[in-house]
């Protein structure tokens, strides 16, 4: 068995991206520039204006990429993404698929053999029904001796790119921006906007690094923790017990209901008070069942709270990261305006 949370269970997919290589190359090129020319970081004596401007604009560009990711995330969440306007009627989608099937039959029958012709025919079919914006055609060689020469595949287009690509861009370019901020500002915590920008960038990148750590190691830990009951299942179970409890109340004498309800909020002494009430009203129909259900609901609720607390901890870094990032963005705008204006 693996060691949950150990190196083997690191969420490697978080780091496997060509964006990492690009971000690394950007940072290395600036560090190389510094080392090769001997220019100091920031506005230290002997600074190079070109280097200062280059690091500044590069940092801004990287911040914009990060901002684009956030924008893409929220426009989708709010349902105002341009992708939503690409929605096509299902009837058209089906008619296009029918035409693709006809093309597949032509390929299988040997009447359509050239890859280019197949691709053109398939693209025309999609365009004719107006579904070319949501489907892209791929022609692959057929596999197997009796298979048709080409396989005509229609895939979703993912117009704005999958979120994990954006996430990788955010992660790596954000880190690279953090380094460039240091090269641009010299890391000095002086008074004024420059110092504020450096501090804000440090907090944003620092909280981001904490987030990376939590997202890299957290999933395996959470999974090990949820082995018996996941938060989703606990929630569903709690809902189910809630319904059963409501039904069980109907089977209990009306005079006892208020007393039982007052026990629902009881803390540690729930069991003792429930036992006392059961003893007092021995023979009351449905009361034992109701207490059994209430007890189960309390246990499930406690487990649900515990799991949700753990989940919240995995995302707690965002409480600092997001507001400070918003302030940083505002400060960058002020810095940019002041530089360009004055």
């Amino acid at each position: 068995m693996s060691d949950p949370g150990g190196r083997r269970d690191l969420n490697r997919r978080l780091f496997q991206s060509w964006h990492g290589a690009i971000a690394g190359a950007i940072v290395l090129s600036f560090v190389g520039w510094m080392l090769a020319t001997g220019v100091p970081a920031g506005r230290e004596p002997g600074y190079d204006r070109t280097f200062l401007l280059a690091t500044g604009w590069a940092t801004l560009a990287l911040f914009l990429v990060v901002l684009l990711h956030v924008t893409r995330k929220y426009v989708h969440k709010l349902g105002i993404s341009p992708e939503f306007r690409m929605r096509v009627p299902i009837g058209e989608l089906e008619r296009a698929e029918t035409e693709l099937n006809a093309i597949r039959r032509q390929v299988a029958g040997g009447t359509l053999t050239d890859r280019g012709d197949v691709l053109r025919a398939a693209k025309t079919a999609l365009r004719r029904h107006g579904v070319h914006k949501i489907l892209r055609v791929e022609i692959e060689p057929g596999d197997g001796p009796n298979a048709p020469a080409w396989r005509v595949l229609a895939h979703p287009t993912f117009p704005l790119g999958k979120m994990f690509h954006w996430m990788h861009a955010h992660l790596f370019y954000g880190l690279a921006a953090g380094v460039l901020v240091f090269l641009h500002g010299g890391g000095a915590l002086q008074a004024g906007l420059g110092g504020v920008l450096t501090v804000l960038a440090l907090v944003v990148v620092g909280s981001g690094l904490v987030g990376i750590w939590f997202w890299a190691t957290g999933p395996a830990r959470m999974t090990a923790d949820e082995r018996d009951l996941s938060a989703e299942k606990a929630f569903a179970l709690h809902e189910n017990l809630e319904r059963k409890v409501r039904a069980a109340y109907d089977d209990v004498d009306e005079s006892l209901r208020a007393e039982v309800r007052s026990l629902e909020d009881a803390g540690e002494d729930f069991a003792a008070r429930a036992k006392a009430l059961l003893a007092k009203s021995a023979g009351a129909s449905g009361l034992t069942d109701l207490f059994a259900l209430l007890g189960q609901r309390r246990r499930v609720a406690a487990e649900l709270r515990r799991l949700m607390r753990r989940r919240s901890r995995m995302h707690a870094w965002r409480v600092l990261h997001i507001p400070v990032a918003i302030v940083l963005a505002a400060a960058v705008v002020v810095h940019l305006v002041s530089v360009l204006r004055y």
Binding site: D9, L14, G109, K133, N146, H315
Partner: protein, 504 residues
Amino acid sequence: MADIPQEVFALPLFEKLNPKQKKLVESEASLEVCPADTVFAHQSEYLARFCVILQGGVTMYRKEGGETKVLGAFGQKDWFGELGALSNQPEPATLRADTRTTFLVCEQALFKQLYKNKHFKGLVDETYRRLSLSVHLRVAPIFKSLSPAELRAIESHVSMVEYDKGRVIAEEGGEADAIYLVRSGAVSCTKDGGKSILGYHMANSSFGERALTGQKAWPGTYETMAPTAVLKVSVSVFRDVFAQEPRVLDVLARTAGFIIAEEMGETTGVFDIAHDDSAFSADELEVMVGKQSVKGGEALVIDMHSCVRCNACVEACVSVHDDRVPRLSKTGTRVVHKETGHTVTLATSCYNCEIPECMMACEYGAIRRDVQGLIRYVWDNCVGCQMCSTACPYGVISMTPPPRAGETEPSFQRHWFLQTIPFIGKRFGGSHRADAKKDEGTSEEKAVGKLRGVESRGKAIKCDLCAGLPFEACVYNCPTQAIVRINPEKVLTGRDSRGLLPKH
């Protein structure tokens, strides 16, 4: 909806309908008029409606091997479309109006109600034999090599047999003596007492071809999964009819051999419960295979060691559905690798089964399969009877409250920006659950289903794979690529090319 002329009920097909069924026709059937040369159904398209020609005529064409052949014609008082309406199978031919043609159109839900009438059913079945059987036989791979004349020769020997759900058509090891073509319903083929699933057969698929190749024994037990109608052609018929034409027998035997070889080549979907050579626990295998995951297309799988529990998948699902009810639930079967402890969850999402039990259970024509093979709801037809959610072996169908009076679909409730802020967003507006409760309405407000007299108790919803959009929202919006759509068999066997599971 146009008024249905009373003369319709004088047609032999409708004359013996009971008053309730006549009322249904009056309220639910519609009249359609097509100008000459209108193509109203394409070959391979899903029509799923039964049409009676009141005036004019229709010709049936079929494209085969690049050639277009005329298969037949329908005239006044004839009807067509019963195959699609009965079993959601694609149209075997293209239908074109010869002149200006008027039809009485019965949608699938209405047709299924009328088909319960013995007289109606008798006439439809009899006419099917007369007009449509030859077309139906043509689409079966085994008969594709036969000429129309040769097909006509065996038509009169074809018997139509109907079975209830759970009936055994052929026993494993028994003598394979006939070819069966499924007309409606579904048949499963299992071996070793049901431990291994060999395959499924639905409308238009056939089994028993091996009887023509000299392989005498049935490879498995064929059992109906729903009320099923099959066309049966005994092997002896071929020998008798084509006794003087050994060439035809030879062609049939070679075609059968080709079909069997093709089936053998597609055994990747066959796995054996008793044979536990994967590292997953037998319990998990039993859950997945016993619940016939094999019949599914692709499952939505969440890699629990990459999922950061950000809920972006569910939020994305909500944002693409107008009713703001997520189709995705992250509860589902968890599969744990015994050696590495790596865990994946088979999310509760539609598998778009090859044999959709929900579709077979639906009495109201509210579920159909589209040309992409996806299972879709016809929202208007759903009356909330919950038969589909009961029949679904994976529990992926849930119910949403019915639309309020005056609404045909739930209204769109857009989130405003503040509601999307992490942690505190929910303080700026009710949760989806609260919105759903608000929408329940009083019993008086509950909408009425499309079939009159059936009160809608809600609508069935399930994953629709974000139909019509250029992405599947949950997969598209996962920031860590933890959620993917993949064949569940690959999860079991570790043959996952996307690296979802570690090699073992």
